[in-house]
Subunit: 150 residues, 2 copies
DNA sequence: CTTGATGGTTTACAATCGTAGCCGATAAGT
DNA sequence: ACTTATCGGCTACGATTGTAAACCATCAAG
């Protein structure tokens, strides 16, 4: 369940969105085939998910004639950012640094990506606090130091 | 639904885990009060979630006598990392850089966090590719360039 | 010993999700 | 025109989730 533009998109629906973002304006057939290949879903499954996404306003059905094409209504990048924020909003602020570190370590990033991140970090370093406070239970700072991974 | 240690922990359950991680080994009463304060849940709701987490093996009931204490069985940091990986595994590899950038921009990070990230990035820069390929539909690279946020 | 508080266990129930079959309309082939 | 393959809509159904009440056991107080 990931939130993008105030609607809740389920995991399976999310997969359909991914395909839609990649394919642009596919017909249902193209989408069905793609999902069949990617996830092994039956045609009905993809159709259902597509319909639910339309109901939720995350996808548009375009055209008047019979082979409609479908298009994502919510953008890919904003949805990614929303999903990531949703995740980090639900973890202790103290853990964000270590978690980001782990993500960076495990992902493939281009030279350009890295340069951008470095520049953001350099800027951020200027005003960074010595320590981030735990925000788990308001008023208390009960989280232990970060490195007790267990 | 976030995956940590091969069990699926739902959103609400996740909130309970957060409290457990913060509180350590609370009694059910303490936990119930915390969740009532944080989320406005009734005692029953917290009890149900706690039970489901125990069934799922994510939480341990400790003690033999009547006021048991409860403890998270899965660690906080690994769960965070698992959740983050889960998220990034389900987005186009091309988008990872921009998404991480947005996360870094919106989070509070300590000087130490930043230094650590900078060191990881410096290391990673040595072997970084010029460009990350789209991995959305295998065999094709259909994703547009990253900066068409819309 | 009865009683009530406190904590633990079962049951409930509507909403959403994952997964998919079936049906009706329309377009295409013969 | 008649049959058939497609496409889109409706129906289905068990599992999980969010939310919580009801019930039961046990300990302490009277």
């Amino acid at each position: 369940m990931i939130d993008a533009k105030n609607v809740t998109i389920s995991d399976s629906e999310w997969e359909v969105m991914r395909a839609l973002w990649t394919m642009g304006k596919p017909t249902s057939r193209e989408l069905i085939d793609a999902m069949a290949g990617l996830k092994g879903w039956s045609a009905s499954t993809t159709k259902t998910l597509l319909h639910r996404l339309i109901e939720k306003g995350a996808v548009n059905k375009i055209g008047a004639a019979r082979p409609f094409v479908y298009q994502a209504e919510v953008g890919e990048a904003p949805s990614m950012v929303a999903a990531a924020n949703d995740l980090f909003d639900h973890m202790c602020a103290m853990r964000a640094g270590a978690t980001i570190a782990s993500v960076i370590e495990s992902r493939e990033l281009s030279k350009n990506d890295i340069a951008k991140l470095q520049s953001i970090l350099a800027e951020k370093a200027k005003t960074a606090p010595e320590k981030v406070e735990c925000n788990c239970l308001p008023g208390h700072h009960m989280c232990k130091e970060v490195d007790d991974d267990g």
